[in-house]
Amino acid sequence: MPVMSRFVRLGETDRPPVTLYVDDQPVTALEGDTLMVALLASGGTLRQGEFGPEKRAGFCLMGACQDCWVWTSSGERLRACSTLATAGQRIVTSQPESTWPSNA
């Protein structure tokens, strides 16, 4: 059974909503959320691990482990734990290079 949400909001919910797009699907977050919270309050994982079968959802939340990388639709790499979610953002959760023809 897929996890519907990983993170649980315990307060500060009285903030204006912002809508961003994750893999082309709309996701509603709250103003002030990091991308990590935006994605994990509405889903279970952030990305596929590169060296194992498991999916990943971040680890240190302080910019030290780099486990939480996601990408913008133009290919820029973002650390989900330290990047704020903003309205209209378009995020992809698979590494752009992994879809290059040479890796197909």
Partner: protein, 457 residues
């Protein structure tokens, strides 16, 4: 004469107090901060549109957090503060920074490294599953985003942070399934004389533990973690451990917050070519410094948990002390009475920290006992068995050599989270003391940076 340039890396309790001392001496230091707002990790600020009061965010340390924030805000206009700026290298007496706007190399007359700490991790089979987080990470989730890392959280590991974060979760209304501490109760008794050096912190710890138990959360001491149970797609679904009586137990959960106290972020001190020494008490390599924070390299000073884990209160004192040492070395007048009293303060916290190391020992034997199929390096998916095989095939017994052959410590986190455990595993496997394994060298860039960014004007 041009003003002497002081660069401070970090804006937590140590960096803030160091900057304050420089401003008081009439200087305008550059303060480089990876964070969006000053405060560091332990006194990390919540986003501007969040409304929880200090008492909710920082508990017993609310007044201290506020004092550090207020001190920073009061000097904000008199320092050259650069938030969201990563220091990724130190070379040729220059500090190399990267930020959204580009990169720059800054020369310095005095460099104060107040780089703080990250969690010290002991791998557990299954820790690569989604839903495993560091204890510090679990705290950041709550403190700076008001979320719990899961619907049912197990806290596993040891150290003061285990109880602090678990109690903060309980207090915030999160479901805490259990607190599993690898340290036995007897260790605390042994540590009591040192812990009494700072009775107020000791008493806070006792109160936190009582609050956790009062909330009905089971607390197990002297456990041996066996496995974090999970599924590759959906992540963590439980924890298996042996209790102090040797009986195996399982607890269902969807998140695990794990860690064994902290480790200093010493990569920049390493790149600045500071000498390191092995500290047998914490089984970590630490940059050498004199009683005031002077590193082995002239003009480089070390303060706060980035030099040695002595806690946030000590970081304030050592931050001021290191700045005063730098000012004195630059020929500025410094009040010797203040210096002496700060030294005394740091010595008291050092005694307390020794007590913590005794009460919550790093379970080095757990690394040696990791099963072959357990992931040791979660960045690169290297198992304990992979590292053992590399040792057998190549004879590698030195940390950097073993890293080159096995990729343990070569991944995204650059060995921050597996390096100490890998060294213990190598030592046990080779039958040598862990200090002989050496330490992973700091490498530039100390964190990944975007390539192709231009020079800043």
């Amino acid at each position: 004469m041009a003003e002497q340039r002081i660069i401070i890396v970090g804006a937590g309790p140590a960096g803030t107090r160091a900057a304050q001392a420089c401003v008081a001496a009439g200087l305008q230091p550059i303060v480089l901060d990876e964070g969006r707002h000053a405060g560091g990790q332990i006194y990390r600020r919540q986003p501007d549109n969040f409304t929880r009061p200090y008492t909710k965010l920082y508990g017993t340390e609310a007044d201290r957090a506020q004092a550090v924030h207020d001190a920073f805000d009061a000097i904000r206009d008199r320092i050259d503060y650069r938030p969201e700026t990563l220091v990724w290298n130190i070379a040729d007496r220059h500090v190399w920074t990267a930020s959204g706007t580009g990169q720059t190399a800054l020369p310095f007359d005095a460099l104060l490294l107040c780089t703080g700490a990250t969690d010290r991790l002991m791998p557990v089979k299954g820790w690569q599953y989604a839903g495993s987080y560091s204890l510090g990470g679990a705290q950041v989730a709550l403190k700076s985003q008001a979320v719990s890392i899961g619907h049912r959280v197990v806290f596993m590991g040891s150290g003061p942070l285990l109880y602090l974060v678990a109690s903060q979760y309980v207090e915030a209304g999160a479901a805490v399934a259990a607190v599993l501490d690898t340290s036995p109760f007897s260790a605390r008794v042994k540590a009591l004389p040192d812990l009494l050096a700072v009775p107020s912190i000791l008493w806070n710890g006792v109160k936190l533990t009582q609050a956790i138990k009062r909330a009905g959360v089971p607390v197990h001491l002297g456990v041996t973690p066996v496995e974090i149970l999970g599924d590759p797609d959906t992540g963590v679904n439980g924890v298996r451990f042996r209790d102090s009586g040797g009986k195996e137990q399982s607890i269902a959960c969807d998140a695990v917050a794990m860690g064994h106290h902290l480790r200093p972020e010493t990569q920049l001190a390493d790149l600045a070519r500071c000498a390191f020494a092995f500290d047998s008490h914490t089984r970590q390599w630490l940059p050498e410094r004199d009683g005031d924070g002077r590193a082995s390299v002239a003009g480089v000073y070390l303060a706060g948990d980035g030099a040695r884990i002595l806690g946030a209160r000590s970081a304030e004192a050592s931050g001021t002390l290191a700045a005063l040492a730098a000012l004195a070395d630059l020929g500025l007048p410094v009040d010797k009475g203040v210096t002496a009293s700060l030294r005394g303060e740091v010595a008291t916290y050092a005694k307390f920290a020794r007590g913590l190391a005794t009460a919550f020992p790093w379970p080095s034997a757990q690394a040696a006992a990791l099963p072959d199929d357990a992931v040791l390096c979660r960045c690169e998916g290297v198992s304990a068995g992979d590292l053992r095989a590399v040792m057998r095939e190549t004879g590698a017994q030195e940390a950097n050599r073993a890293k080159a052959f096995s990729r343990v410590g070569m991944g995204r986190c650059q060995g921050r989270y597996c390096g100490l455990a890998a060294a213990e595993l190598i030592a046990a496997e080779a039958g040598i003391p862990v200090d002989q394994v050496g330490r992973l060298r700091g490498q530039a860039p100390v964190k990944p940076i975007n390539i192709g960014i231009g020079d800043e004007k």
